[in-house]
Symmetry: C2
């Protein structure tokens, strides 16, 4: 109980911090390998100088993802949970101390790439403006039914890797039904970070989120 | 400290229980959607009556996977962690009470399908004969570097969904290098549960494991 209250208080501090800095913060969650970093690479490439972006990268170990994103000339801050017990999720206080290392006066969109895990990250409020869950078409249609807490905690569901659909027996309608059953209000969009298909809708959603914070 | 000791004691009880029953127990772990259930379906189909099999199914919610496997006429026992806080891993005591619901006199191979999660399940010793991690080629080559604890805790790594390789830019040698770097002693085998390619090696490995318990 006390822990939850402390987490909520930390989230509230973050919310105010992002608001004071006019920054739209987006928490990206998924199973390992669903394509969070690939989508961020595509996003940074497409946005160019249109919006200032930065990334807080969460992983148990390595800086591999932060290095992939730093190539786009943006600020990155790495959180590695490994040395502190290997937690499988990020917490609000860690995100704040990472974000404080960045010059947010240059930033419109702050992405938090969470640890690859479809379970625990959903239970920790980071005080961001939007929670996004990626589900790749290669993971199967049943994940929203089997891991509903994640889908209930999100504002947007990105169905990723749709370029692979021709190679799969995938029932998109079944996935959409399962998403609606887990969270009727959850908006879903389909895209491929590889081919760029559907990425426009994602960019428009980001532009809207950023505009709402100005 | 006390918790760890209790877990180890429970694992030891399981080890003796499986040994007394002449059962080879295999703990299957992976990210969500890497293909654990699909591989078990293919295994049960291929083994037919050659070896007696049963499954302890671990999920946060639903009995979807247990129902897929029950179609093969085998005994299944479902553990759902959702009603008890939604733990993202299985523990030895839960596996034992599930296994005790089964008639193990008919069973040579007991599969434990763990919760889809590349982090926490690696830290809980279930007292089984072998720990197996699946990594699908769609998740990327970097997972053994980013989630090393899982790869270090396993005896076998199954690289799954290799039928999708023609549709991917996947560097198998890089994955194999990353597996070796995380755990030099970890045996890796490649297969497709969809086409059956490579499944023979997996079945031979299972036969060997079962024979070692007789
Ligand atoms: N075909 C295809 N592959 C993709 C796409 N997006 C990502 N991938 C591949 O999926 C694998 C994982 O992508 P990442 O971007 O590393 O995934 P991630 O969610 O950031 O992974 P973690 O941070 O480890 O949880 C890589 O091999 C990518 O090349 C896509 O749109 N299409
Ligand atoms: N192409 C291809 N798809 C596969 C293969 N194995 C599994 N899949 C697909 O991958 C998705 C997930 O498979 P599952 O067997 O449900 O994966 P799982 O690891 O049991 O998932 P969880 O239990 O939820 O963690 C499904 O859409 C399967 O059809 C394979 O060998 N090739
Ligand atoms: Mg990533
Ligand atoms: Mg399964
Ligand atoms: Zn967890
Ligand atoms: Zn965890």
């Amino acid at each position: 109980k006390k822990l939850m209250a402390a987490q909520e208080a930390d989230a509230e501090i973050n919310r105010k911090f992002f608001s004071d800095m006019n920054v739209a913060a987006v928490n990206m969650m998924s199973s390992p390998g669903s394509g969070k970093t690939a989508l961020l690479e595509k996003t940074l490439e497409a946005l160019g100088g249109e919006l200032g972006a930065a990334v807080v990268e969460g992983d148990i170990l390595t800086t591999l993802d932060a290095e992939r994103l730093a190539r786009f000339g943006i600020q990155t801050a790495q959180i590695n949970t490994g040395p502190f017990g290997g937690d499988c999720h990020l917490e609000a206080a860690w995100v704040r101390s990472a974000a404080e290392q960045l010059d947010l006066s240059l930033v419109d969109l702050l992405f938090v790439e969470n640890v690859g895990n479809l379970v625990c990250p959903a239970e920790f409020n980071l005080g961001v403006d939007a929670n996004v869950v990626l589900i790749s078409v290669t993971e199967g249609e049943d994940k929203p039914a089997k891991y509903p807490i994640m889908f209930r905690s999100c504002d947007l569901c990105v169905v990723s890797k749709i370029d692979l659909l021709p190679a799969l027996d995938f029932d998109m309608e079944l996935l959409e039904r399962n998403i609606r059953a887990a969270n009727p209000g959850l908006r879903a969009m389909k895209l491929s970070a590889k081919t760029g298909e559907g990425v426009c809708e994602w960019l428009d959603w980001l532009r809207g989120l950023s505009a709402s914070k100005k």
